[in-house]
Amino acid sequence: MSAGAIVMGILGVLFLWGGTAYFLSIALRKQGFSRRTDEDGKATSS
């Protein structure tokens, strides 16, 4: 495989999946995903 293809492959993974990991880590650190919503649309603890 050419060096250019390897570099672009790595950059693609870094930006797209690295970006996903970054935003996921922010979500987990701050509001998280486990908050549930009750019937009135208010957030409740999980």
């Binding site: 495989m1 390897i6 693609g12 993974v13 970006g19 935003f23 649309g41």
Partner: protein, 497 residues
């Protein structure tokens, strides 16, 4: 709703944040991620295409997604009523997005039916050595002209009915039901894609295929068409301007996160597209090696890739060919199903909010006519009409809706108001760059995309179809959509007393 006033507490809600994020990702990840992105990247500079693609993602994709989330969340309604609450005269724009979504679901359900049909065919590799002949002759029973409808192939029709029954049941189960379904239907294609990538990468010739996919040709970046292709792909693949995201966001609780959800969903969607390219081109590399031809000779996109080239390539696998063929069509089906029911959900929410219908009433009112209209696409001439309608509604209908939505919200409601609204409840705070993106590059790129599509259209008839067919299935549909939308916006709104 009570007395015509918006009462947020009365609305159904996503049970938890993950359900909303999964639903948005599921809606965005569809057939285009698998059969459009890899070939588009290959044609437009290979690895170098990732640069305009990433820039388009950040400057248009994410900002527009945030805008639609903000609209749905703030006004707590589907696209038409959300637009109406912004300004009464804007309601038709919401209906325009809804009508475009409705048109797309009529034929998208047929493509999904093909994937169901092919899951059965894949078990025995029924296409043999002539996948093209099998698709056009046996499966679709393609006629020789768009105006010769021919018959309706029974297996495709049965698959079409199965697809619609599934969509009906899922959307009818309400937003909580959708939330439960996406917990399976969103991760499933990712898992299947990973299996196919791993299998693909271990095949001889795979590296040559990947090389074709990722070898950068930076000279291509000087070509404006490459940039338009990148912006177009981002726009088409994120479920924007289809009333879906506004509808989904309208079911969020009052204090819901918006900005990070948009970043997460957009990045996962694009990451999956990138992954799909690895799966597709590794198998194409193997196929080229087996057939003793260049990868460029077998590279394809769209229906040709999914139902002709890829099945041929999978049929050549040294072991487990039928298993991987079944997995591939299961991947296509699982990617298609949540995009399909999200389209239905967008229309159902619009209809239910306008006329205060129960969910069952709204789902029946939407699915029945969509099913009946979609039957046209299951006939022997269905592929022609599907191709024409898809081409025009995407390149003109969808882009126009996005442009108008962007101008209305960006310039009338105010990009600043959007930014302040979402920043008040989000984990990531948007800077002034957001306002700039919504007001300038996004409308500019959508306008250029529109002009470029129009120029290409006027230069030569699309795919050489008769002008009468292009007018009937293309221009007439594109022109009728805003007219129907305007009429719908003028119909009396039923309020609950």
């Amino acid at each position: 709703m009570r007395g015509g006033k918006f009462v947020p507490e009365a609305r159904e809600r996503w049970t938890w944040r993950g359900a909303f994020v999964f639903a948005v990702i599921g809606s965005a990840v569809g057939l285009g991620n698998i059969w459009r992105f890899p070939y588009l990247a290959y044609e437009n500079g290979g690895g170098a295409f990732l640069i305009p693609y990433f820039i388009a993602l950040v400057t248009t994709g994410v900002p527009l997604m945030i805008l639609e989330f903000a609209l749905g969340h703030k006004f707590g309604a589907g696209a038409p009523i959300a637009m109406r609450r912004l300004r009464e005269s804007f309601e038709w724009v919401g209906w325009w997005a809804t009508v475009v979504g409705f048109i797309i679901i009529t034929y998208y359900a047929v493509v999904m039916a093909w994937t169901i049909r092919y899951m059965v065919s894949a078990a025995t590799l029924a296409w043999g050595e002539d996948a093209g002949g099998y698709l056009f002759g046996q499966v679709l029973q393609l006629t020789d002209s768009p105006f010769t409808l021919g018959g309706i192939p029974l297996p495709v029709f049965i698959a079409f009915v199965i697809g619609w029954v599934l969509m009906y049941l899922i959307v009818r189960s309400g937003i909580k039901g959708v939330g439960r379904v996406v917990m399976i239907s969103m991760p499933l294609p990712v898992l299947l894609l990973i299996i196919l990538v791993l299998r693909g990468l271990t095949l001889p010739g795979a590296i040559d295929g990947i090389n074709y996919y990722l070898e950068p040709d930076f000279a291509k970046l000087a070509d404006p068409q490459v940039w338009l292709a990148a912006y177009g792909q981002i726009f088409f693949s994120l479920s924007l301007a289809l009333a879906i995201l506004i509808a989904y966001a309208s079911y969020l609780p009052g204090d819901a996160e918006i900005v990070n959800n948009a970043f997460l969903a957009s990045f996962v969607n694009c990451g999956i597209s990138f992954l799909a390219g690895l799966a597709v081109f590794s198998v194409l590399g193997y196929m080229a090696l087996e057939q003793g031809v260049d990868v460029a000779h077998v590279a394809a996109g769209g229906v040709g890739l999914a139902f002709v080239v890829f099945p041929t390539g999978l049929g050549l696998l040294p072991a487990g060919a039928s298993l991987f063929a079944v997995l591939f069509f299961l991947l296509l089906f699982s990617a298609a199903i949540d995009s399909a029911f999200s389209l239905v959900e967008g229309v159902v929410t619009s209809v239910a909010d306008k006329w205060n219908l129960t969910r069952s009433q709204a789902v029946t009112a939407v699915t029945l006519p969509a099913f009946l209209l979609g039957t046209l696409f299951t006939t022997g001439a269905g592929l022609y009409w599907l191709d024409i309608v898809d081409h025009f509604i995407n390149n003109f209908g969808l882009v126009l809706v996005g442009l108008v939505e962007c101008i209305i919200v960006g310039w009338f409601w105010g990009a600043k108001e959007v930014r302040e609204y979402v920043n008040a409840r989000s984990e990531i705070k948007l800077g002034p760059w957001y306002e700039f993106c919504i007001k300038y590059p996004t409308p500019l790129m959508l306008t250029l995309t529109l002009i470029w599509s129009l120029y290409k259209e006027l230069r030569a008839p699309y795919e050489g179809y008769p002008l009468s067919a292009l007018f009937l299935g293309g221009w007439a549909v594109v022109i009728a959509a805003p007219i129907v939308a305007y009429v719908l916006s003028k119909l009396h709104r039923r309020e609950v007393s």
